[in-house]
Symmetry: C2
Amino acid sequence: MSDEVSSRRSRITPEREAELHGAVLDLLREVGYEALTMDAVATRTRSSKATLYRQWGSKPELVARALRCTQPVPLAEIDTGSLRGDFGLMVQYSDDAQMAKDTALLRGLAHAVHESPELHKALRDLLVEPELNGMQLMLQRAVERGEVSPDCPALEFVPHVIVGAFIALPLIEDRPVDRAFLGEFIDAVVFPALGV
Amino acid sequence: MSDEVSSRRSRITPEREAELHGAVLDLLREVGYEALTMDAVATRTRSSKATLYRQWGSKPELVARALRCTQPVPLAEIDTGSLRGDFGLMVQYSDDAQMAKDTALLRGLAHAVHESPELHKALRDLLVEPELNGMQLMLQRAVERGEVSPDCPALEFVPHVIVGAFIALPLIEDRPVDRAFLGEFIDAVVFPALGV
């Protein structure tokens, strides 16, 4: 997002923004990404299409921002002083109902991501990269504190292991990740692999 | 697959079967699952639709069997005497070009799996379950040989970690899993988590 767009967006209230994001997610669930139009978003939220384009730039960006607002807390904002604490808080902030809804939404988007490079880029820039960077910071602090060896070969694979769990569990066991699974998984796999 | 279908299928030669599976995969790549018809498969392979239905049962089953035949060796057939040896052979049998093609194919199928419970079931029964069972056997033997503690909490998550890596790497790094990644990933994450 450019600074210009950012300053434009700051003119609407957080409540109005949340309302708009909620409407986008509702429409996504109802009709899917391909059939979602800026017209429908404008009608549903009683705003003009010009406002939507001015404030969100494009449909892929609007969708990526709406998905981002379902996240309880960005990982980059978690800093408890220990890796166990950081991951523990990440698990604690996770909401079972929200994760189930997100899993269904993201599964519905898989095809659209494949078809639309713009959606792919928006999800990567606004959703995936910030969380990966947040996780990277957590791990870096753990290395600096001496909790994890800087040579630990598992360090670079932690994002793959955690992102993978979110996708593999629905595939293997036909159920979305919940807080209990996430906590057990991190205790059983991530900490031992990191030597924590 | 019922025994009856199995005995019927045994009447065609392995070469003819491989040719047919190859044609199904080509068509899948060309037109996608939804647009793939038994008519097109019959035309491409110069067989009758009746033969296809008699020998493969249905389009979802035919597609699942065709995908299965791209696997070099079923995991259940790998037994080297050690867990490191078993996973090592699994990595060694992996073919980079084939994994890249499979990743593209499976990504293309994601939408179809979501829409078709029959395809979902066929992929699960013919592709996913046999491999998960094969991995379960590998781990069970490792426990029996004393290589892994029977109480190791990572045991139940090994499939999630490995299946997850195959999906997370393309998402995070925009590239399919190759043999080098798979080997490093197993060394860095799976063995330490299992205490091997």
